[in-house]
């Protein structure tokens, strides 16, 4: 069923199925620019099936639990990890919640901007990615450039326009020992900006 759903999502958005796992295997932290509610769906659908079944997207708790349908989609269909954006405390800390999945050998998809931006260009990264990377320095961070999703379903619209999206998986990056927060987050953000040659 989930494989069929992924195929339908690829058909509807034009995103290509990835044939090889973008890293050496094992859990990965997959991160992308965030401009549309469709983003995590598209990254999820583009993953090869074996990796997809082992991958959980991070989703904003306030939005994805605001009604039954959204909660069902997020929790049941995509097995999302719900991330609180307000009132973060020790008991519900996003890094802990993501860490549980990573320690169980699962990969996570997250959007380090913490919310959707108005354009394709990613805004400033929140520090979550840094804390996660520092806690699990051996887990590769896979950058994914998402293209055209802000044109398919932009912020502030509920009407989709059927354009062709692209999810470009790039070479994984890792945090250097002792790397400072600002420097690391800038480097991660630039990975989403750089256009691969050709």
């Amino acid at each position: 069923m989930r494989a069929l759903l992924a195929a339908l999502i690829r058909l509807a958005t034009g995103v290509r199925l990835l044939h090889e796992i973008p890293h050496d295997g094992g859990p990965a932290i997959i991160f992308a620019n965030h401009a549309s509610h469709m983003d995590f769906v598209v990254v999820w659908a583009a993953l090869p099936e074996e990796l997809r079944e082992q991958t959980r997207p991070a989703a904003a708790e306030d939005y994805w639990t605001s009604n039954r349908l959204r909660r069902w989609i997020a929790c049941r269909v995509f097995r999302a990890i719900l991330i609180p954006r307000r009132n973060v405390c020790r008991g519900n800390h996003p890094v802990d919640r993501l860490g549980i999945a990573l320690e169980a050998g699962e990969s996570v998809i997250l959007f380090p901007e913490g919310g959707r931006s108005e354009s394709e260009e990613p805004g400033e990264f929140k520090s979550g990615l840094f804390h996660l990377a520092r806690r699990y320095p051996d887990i590769p961070l896979v950058p994914v450039q998402l293209e055209n999703l802000s044109r398919i379903l932009p912020k502030g619209s509920t009407l989709p326009v059927p354009l062709i999206a692209q999810a470009r998986f790039l070479a994984p990056i890792r945090i250097e020992p002792g790397e400072a927060k600002r420097g690391f987050l800038d480097r991660a953000r630039r990975a989403l900006l750089d256009h691969p040659s050709g």
Partner: protein, 329 residues
């Protein structure tokens, strides 16, 4: 299925079998890597032709509803490629929603019910007026003219022009009632055959580029050889059309020339947008728009000239005095 249709389908099947065999033999004799690459692309193209011919023939046989639906889908996919490459902005979003989900289905509904008068003006008049109206509501003035024009062009090329093909099924022609599917087949076969033969002539003996900046692979040898041989083949198919052999030759020449220019125009647009192919959906060919580019501009011309010269007065007639004057000549 009448005997003419059966013969047309057998001819297409025969061409495909022969070209597959040639592709197979050539690829076994390939010596260098460059040749092998070309042949891999050639064989991918031929395989795609099998699929496209099968789908097109099947829908033609299933009747006008299926044919109209197939072209509606083709319009949708083509417009999707067109708009994806044109880089529209946030202010165009709602207009685009209307274009894809309201204007396109309504237009094909008009084709389906055969409302000829509304079909000819729905996009050039109603959609043309509606698009800037809806966009001006957003209050965004940046790129207003450029982007409304892009959306209007997208609708005109991908929806309006393409829909003239299924509309051929609705064209009343003297002494040709109930046989229009063969005319549509004749048109598509002529234009696509001309594309294929231009490619074959160009690959085998093409030297002098026609328009190096617009389409570097189009050569004089390919264009002239391809169009001449396509016209020859299509003339031999006159029995499937309402035309005499001479008329069939002239009509084939007209649509091949229109197809050639249509291909060049869409190539120019593509390059203007900084892309090599419109998409990657059809193996060996590129996108849907890469495959139907030559049909887009030829279809409305073929439809109206056929309607004007052979139709039962469905197309606008000139004023009486002009007709009388023409009659006297």
């Amino acid at each position: 299925m009448d005997s003419d249709t059966r013969l047309l389908l057998s001819i297409v099947g025969g061409i495909l079998v022969v070209s597959s065999l040639i592709g197979f033999i050539l690829s076994r004799r390939a010596s260098s890597d460059a040749v092998r690459m070309t042949l891999a692309n050639l064989n991918a193209r031929i395989r795609s032709w099998w699929v496209m011919s099968a789908i097109f023939s099947a829908t033609i046989l299933l009747g006008p509803v299926f044919t109209t639906t197939l072209f509606a889908l083709l319009s949708f996919l083509a417009m999707r490629e067109f708009v994806t490459l044109t880089k529209t902005e946030r202010a165009d979003h709602e207009v685009l929603f209307w274009a894809f989900f309201v204007i396109l289905p309504l237009h094909y509904l008009l084709v389906g019910i055969g409302w000829y008068g509304m079909f000819t003006i729905f996009i050039p008049v109603y959609a043309f007026v509606f698009i800037p109206f809806r966009r001006v509501l957003t209050g965004e003035t940046r790129n207003f003219l450029a982007n409304t024009s892009r959306i209007q062009w997208a609708l005109l090329i991908c929806v309006y022009a393409v829909s003239h093909m299924p509309m051929i099924l609705r064209l009343p022609i003297h002494g040709y009632e109930g046989e229009n599917a063969k005319l549509l087949f004749f048109f598509v076969l002529t234009v696509q055959l001309s594309d294929v033969l231009q490619y074959v002539w160009g690959k085998t003996c093409g030297k002098h580029p026609v328009a190096p900046r617009v389409s570097p692979h189009k050569t004089w040898e390919g264009t002239v050889g391809g169009i001449a041989s396509a016209v020859l083949v299509s003339t031999l198919l006159w029995w499937a059309t309402p035309f005499t052999p001479w008329q069939a030759a002239l009509m084939a020449l007209l649509v091949c020339l229109a197809g050639f220019f249509g291909g060049l125009v869409l190539s120019a647009i593509k390059r203007d947008l900084g892309a090599k192919d419109w998409g990657g959906s059809i193996a060996g060919h590129g996108g849907f728009l890469d495959r139907i580019d030559s049909l887009c501009f030829a279809a409305p011309l073929f439809f109206h000239i056929t309607g004007f010269c052979f139709g039962t007065g469905i197309d606008p007639q000139p004023p009486k005095w002009l007709l009388e004057w023409m009659g006297r000549m």
